[in-house]
């Protein structure tokens, strides 16, 4: 694959967003409308109770040149969960799927733990107003931990192929303390589930859809799949499980796998065709990829340095 970088297209610090969110526009994911693109992302506010972050979903509408911002969300897109719920402390990311006259949303809800920092689950919501707001299905997740996926189930990406809903998602395999006086770090992998209705899912439960490249402590997240040239292509981000924030070479990069049947994936990162830039907003890290098609072209939205603190950028696939 060969990607042409089109640069950073949205910086959250230049806009007023609902819920007093000030920085971060993470994991951009789209709904393609007739005459514009709605790009959802997760942004953050400071929890006044303890100074920690709370992630909220917001969106920006851009025209199909991706150069002009039409508007940003002016109200809460989806509320955080109630006391004790899986999405009480954040929703990040959100994946959208148009289904008949509705938009299905697959959320990754965050809740804080005491021995480890967080757990996540996959929630389901629907929009009946074109994606301005979403109504949740219940207070709990549609996918959470199971016998062989003990924690950190999240990052769902859903597509319908041949009348079956397919989901690729993240599941945790390990929490580990790597050094003295360091907090536990997590390791997670990419799994696969299928469904007939998009709500009731059958997980493969602990089976990795994409193999490790670095080592068993490699973390892989945010799978995204597109069908192109009679093949399925998956991008995801991966990193080492420790020292990934401060050491650029251990931080997130984008990986690649391809498949003919949606089940068996061949990993071939050499073909990914995109890497960190020499300087600028994506010079240290690449993460949270999202593939979509628009007017016959394949696009890639992604975050750069500091996990998307100052926005996201775009690349287009060159044939």
């Amino acid at each position: 694959m060969k990607w042409k970088k089109l640069g950073k297209i949205f910086d959250p610090t230049e806009h007023k967003l609902p819920n007093n969110c000030v920085e971060y526009a993470q994991s951009p994911q789209v709904i393609v409308k007739d005459d514009f693109i709605r790009i959802y992302f997760s942004t953050r506010k400071i929890d006044p109770k303890n100074g920690k972050f709370l992630s909220h979903v917001s969106f920006v509408d851009v025209d199909k040149t991706f150069k002009n911002i039409i508007k940003t969300a002016d109200e809460t897109v989806i509320p955080l969960g109630k006391l004790g719920a899986f999405d009480e402390h954040g929703i990040f990311p959100i994946n959208l799927l148009e289904h008949n006259d509705e938009i299905f949303a697959y959320t990754c809800g965050w809740n804080r733990r005491s021995s480890v920092s967080v757990d996540t689950g996959i929630g389901f919501a629907r929009s009946f107003d074109g994606g301005l707001t979403f109504e949740k299905l219940g207070d709990g997740p549609i996918l959470g931990p199971s016998i062989n996926e003990p924690f950190l189930v999240g990052d769902a990406f859903v597509k319908k192929y041949n009348n079956i809903f397919h989901m690729w998602y993240m599941f945790g395999t390990k929490w580990q303390i790597y050094g003295d006086n360091t907090a536990p770090d997590r390791t997670y992998k990419i799994g696969h589930a299928t469904s007939n209705d998009g709500i009731n899912w059958c997980k493969e439960d602990g089976i990795q859809a994409v193999p490790d490249k670095l080592n068993p402590d490699e973390s892989m997240a945010l799978p995204t799949v597109v069908e192109h040239d009679s093949q399925y292509h998956m991008l995801f981000c991966y990193r080492e499980s420790s020292d990934f924030r401060s050491v650029s070479s251990r931080g997130y990069r984008i990986g690649y796998a391809f498949s003919d049947d949606l089940i068996h994936w061949t990993r071939d990162d050499n073909k990914v065709g995109i890497d960190v830039s020499f300087d600028g907003w994506d010079s240290e890290m690449l993460c949270y990829p999202h593939l979509f098609k628009c007017d016959g072209k394949v696009y890639l939205l992604y975050n750069g340095n500091e996990f998307g603190r100052f926005g996201f950028g775009l690349a287009v696939l060159e044939d």
């Binding site: 969960g81 005491s114 021995s115 689950g121 996918l143 016998i147 945790g172």
Partner: protein, 318 residues
């Protein structure tokens, strides 16, 4: 009304020695019957560290011909606590067991600690190949998933086998209410069925109506078949200020023909707190079982089993 004759407290965990992990509490008794003894599983705790407990599960073996006679106490917990970040890192309580050929299958609630609420629980599965002395988890995660209508606090499992199907009765939290700045969970009795004990289909409804208030918390759904119908003994309490006599746990009763639709009739339960003694403030976590032609109930008394569990015997039939 049923007639339960109280036989007194059977086991007091504070009398055990050389088991620092079994210092207090013997909660949620559940039986496994052997040829010459009755193994009673329960959950216990070492002293709280920094104000926070962990819980283990263990057993005491009682003489089958005299249930007031203790033969032995488990030398070690039946199950290890979970690893870092796992659902059962901070506790395994309660536990329910079933003999399946030469294995003993256990379902138990695992405890984890959270930031905004004190804890969450999920139901795990473990298997014993040594007649129930020790159990091994089938995997690092839970067997019953959270779901849109069962968002948290899945606990209190009771495993049963009826009509060639596995039934799991359990509780699911539906909200946390604030009592004196402390979040307290509200939970209701639920069920699921399975053909293999691993993949479960939830009934997805509250089985037992509320009587004292909408936020009544219900626990320990213990189902027993007798006389052509299913009987459920359970316990219930108020949502707030429930750690004393007035609003604490009592034992309730419901019956059903089909295991799905239940008629609650607490007036038939036939057991209440005593005027004085170890069970004069609350009674909870009933477990009903049949032994050599008689029907018995193990249950907890004051402070939810901190100082042990007791036994009652049914006079007449269910």
């Amino acid at each position: 009304m049923f007639k339960w004759e109280k036989l007194g407290k059977i086991f007091d965990p504070t009398t055990t020695v050389e088991r620092p992990w079994l210092k207090e509490f013997s909660q949620a008794p559940a039986t496994l019957i052997f040829n010459d003894f009755v193994r009673v599983y329960f959950s216990c705790r070492p002293p709280a560290a920094n104000g926070q407990y962990v819980s283990y599960s263990a057993f005491v073996d009682l003489d089958r011909s005299d249930l007031t006679k203790i033969l032995r106490v488990a030398d070690e917990p039946i199950l290890k606590l979970g690893g870092l970040g796992e659902f059962d890192e901070f506790g395994t309580y309660p536990v329910t067991v079933y003999r399946n050929h030469d294995e003993i299958v256990a379902y138990y609630a695992g405890w984890t600690r959270c930031e905004s609420v004190p804890f969450n629980t999920a139901i795990g599965m473990a298997i014993s190949k040594d007649n129930g002395k020790t159990f091994k988890k089938v995997g690092p995660g839970p067997v019953i998933p959270y779901s849109p209508d069962e968002p948290f606090v899945l606990s209190g499992p009771k495993i049963r086998f009826f009509n060639n199907k596995w039934y799991l009765f359990y509780i699911a939290g539906n909200k946390w209410v604030i009592d004196n700045n402390r979040p307290e969970p509200v939970y209701k009795i639920r069920s699921a069925t399975s053909s293999d004990g691993i993949n479960w289909t939830k009934t997805n409804k509250n089985l037992i109506t509320n009587t004292i208030e909408e936020n009544e918390a219900q626990a320990s759904p213990d189902v027993f078949f007798s006389n052509g119908q299913y009987h459920m003994f359970f316990c219930y309490r108020y949502s707030l200020n429930y750690r004393g006599k007035d609003k604490g746990y009592r034992v309730g009763y419901a019956h059903s023909k089909d295991l799905v639709n239940w008629v609650r009739e607490d007036e038939k339960v036939g057991i209440d707190i005593s005027n004085s003694g170890w069970d004069c403030e609350m009674i909870s976590y009933p477990h009903v079982f049949e032994l050599d032609g008689s029907i018995y109930m193990f249950y907890l008394g004051n402070q939810v089993g901190r100082y042990g569990f007791g036994l009652a015997k049914l006079n007449g039939k269910l």
